[in-house]
Amino acid sequence: MDKTSKPFFLRYPSAMIFILCLAGFTIAVTIFSESVGNGIVSTSFLKTLGKTLCFCLVAIAMDLVWGYCGILSLGHFAFFGLGGYMIGMWLMYARTELIVLKASAGAALPLTPQELTDGIGTQIFGVVGGAKIPAIWAFADSLTIQLILVVLVPGVLAMVFGWLAFRSRVTGVYLSILTQAMTLALALYLFQNDSGLRGNNGLSGLQNLPGLEDAAQADISLWFFWASALALGLGYIVVKLIVESKLGNIIRGIRDDEARVRFLGYNVEAYKLFIFVLTAVIAAIAGALYYPQAGIINPAELAPIASIYLAVWVAIGGRGRIYGAVIGAAFVSLLSSWFTGGQAPDIPLGFYTIKWVDWWLVLLGASFVLVTLYAPKGIGGLFDKFGWGEKP
C-alpha cells in the first residue's frame, strides 16, 4: 500500500523507462538531424519520425478507450483528422493572408479589408469554384481560437455522439459499426466542395509556418518533432495516471463486467462518455501535430479504414498496456511505410512476383488475425516477463 507515498516514476518503473527511452530517442534524432546535427537523419525521415510519434499518441488514446475501457471505437481517426483540419485552417489562412499582402505591396494604395478578404477567399477557395470565405472560417485568422477549436470541435462531436450511443446502451460490435458510420459520414461530408473545407482538395501547404517564411524546413521539422515527442510523453503520463487511479479500476471493471459496475452504484454511461471524450481530445491533439508535418490533409484521411488501422496497431502492440500501443503504432506504421514505399525487395517466385506494395495489406491482415488468435497480449505482452509489478 505504498501506492501514494512514492514519487510517480518510482511507482511506475515502466513509465520511467518509457520516458527515458523517448528522451534518449529525441536527443539522438536531434544530434543526427540536418538542422543542428550531422544530417544522418534526413529532413523527410525526420518528418516520418515526428508523424510516427503522433501515431503513437493517438494509439495511446485508442488503448485507453478500447484496451482499458472496452469500447472498440472504430472512429477515433475522425477526431485525429478534425484536429488536423482545425489547425490547418489557421496555417492556410494566415499564410495566404501574408501572400496576398505581399503581392499587393507594390500597389499604390494599401488593400481595403474587403479587398484583402476577397483576395484570400479567391486564393483558398478558387480551387472549388468559390471566392467567398465560408462562415466556419470566421476565426481562422486567430491561432489562439483555432487551437481551442482543435480540442473543442472533436470534443463536442465525441460528447454528442457518445451521449446518444451510450445512453441507448449501444455496446460491442454495434457501437463499432456506429463509430465507423460516424467517420464515414464525416469524410463524405468533407468531400463535398461546399463543405467549406475545400472538398477533396483538403488543406495544403501546412508545412509552412506563417510569419516564418525564412525558417528552413529542416528547422521547422525538428520543432514539430520535439513538440510531438513532448506531447507523447505528457500523454503517456496522463494516461498512466488515469489507468492507475480508481478511475482506471472502474473502467477496467466496465470492460470486464459492465452490469456489475452498475450495481455497485457507478453511472457506467458517464464513465464511458468521460473516457470517449478524453481520448477524442488526445486524438485531436495528435492530429493537430501530425498534419503540419504531413503538409496536407484531405477527407480521405478520415476514411473508415484509417480508424481500423488504429485498432490493428493497438492489437498488435498489445492492448491494455500503454507501451504496447506505442510499440504497435511505431512498429506497424514504420513497417507499413517501408513496404508501401517500394523499398522492400520484391520476392520473385518464378511464376509470380510478390510485390509488397500490393501484398503488404495481406501480410498486415494475416498478422492481425494471428496476433488475435495466438498472442492476444501482442508485442507488449513480451514485456510482462520482466515483472515490473504493474498489472494490466
Binding site: M1, K3, T4, I242, S245, K246, L247, N249, I250, R252, G253, D256, D257, A259, R260, V261, R262, F263, L264, G265, Y266, N267, V268, A270, Y271, F274, K391, P392
Partner: protein
Amino acid sequence: MSQRMLLEVQGISVSFDGFKAINNLSFNIGPAELRAIIGPNGAGKTTFMDIVTGKTRADSGDVTWGSKNVSLLKKSEHEIASMGIGRKFQRPTVFEEQTVTDNLMMALRNKRGPLDALFYAFSNDDQERVQETAEEIGLKDHTDRLAGELSHGQKQWLEIGMLLAQDPRLMLVDEPAAGMTGQERDHTVKLLKKMAETRAVIVVEHDMEFVRNLECKVTVLHEGAILDEGSLDHVIQNQEVIDVYLGR
C-alpha cells in the same frame, strides 16, 4: 401500509413475450430483517430481483423504498444502487483481473462520479475498512491476489464482501451457497445473519438445509406469485408447496 417497511412491492407484473414472469406480486420487508425466497426454477425469483434493482422494468404495479416511499420503477441501476440496494449475483461476479483489495475498494461507499474516482486517494480509513471486510469474509491473507485466482467459494465471499463494503440498507443475495463446502456454508450463514442485524437481507436459495439454518421467514414463489409465507416448518407442510416444489 406501515411506515416501518423498507421496501414495499405492490402488485407488480411483468411478462416477456406473453410469458408472465411476475404476476401481481406484492412483497414487503422491514429495515432489519432476514428473508429467504424459495421456489422452483422459473418461479420469478431472479426477475423479482431484476425489477427491484432496476434491470427490468415492471409492466404494472409499484416498488417503493425507504421512509419517504420513493418509487424505484423509473430509476436506473446505478441510482438504485446508490440509494442503498446491493446485489449479489447467482454466478459469482467479481472483477477477476483485479486484486481482492481493488475489488473491495471499488465497492466502498464513496462519491461515484468519474472525476471523484480520478482524484480518489486510498485513505487510511478506507484501507482499514477494506482490511476489516477482508477479515470478515476470510480473505485477509489473499488481499493482493487477483480475484480470478480465488476458489469458487472464495469468489462468492468476495462478492458478499463487496456488498458489505457498499454498506447497503437492503441486500439481495442470489444463491450464496452454490459451490461451497459444508464449512464454507456455515460461515456464510453466520455472515448473512450478522448482516441482517442492521439491515434487510433477502436470500434466494435452493438448498433447503441452508435455508433452515438461516432461521428466518420464508417466502415461496411459484409462477411469479407468492404461494405461501411463514416459517420454513410452516411452508413445507403446505400441500401446494409440496406439490409444486418439494415433491417435484
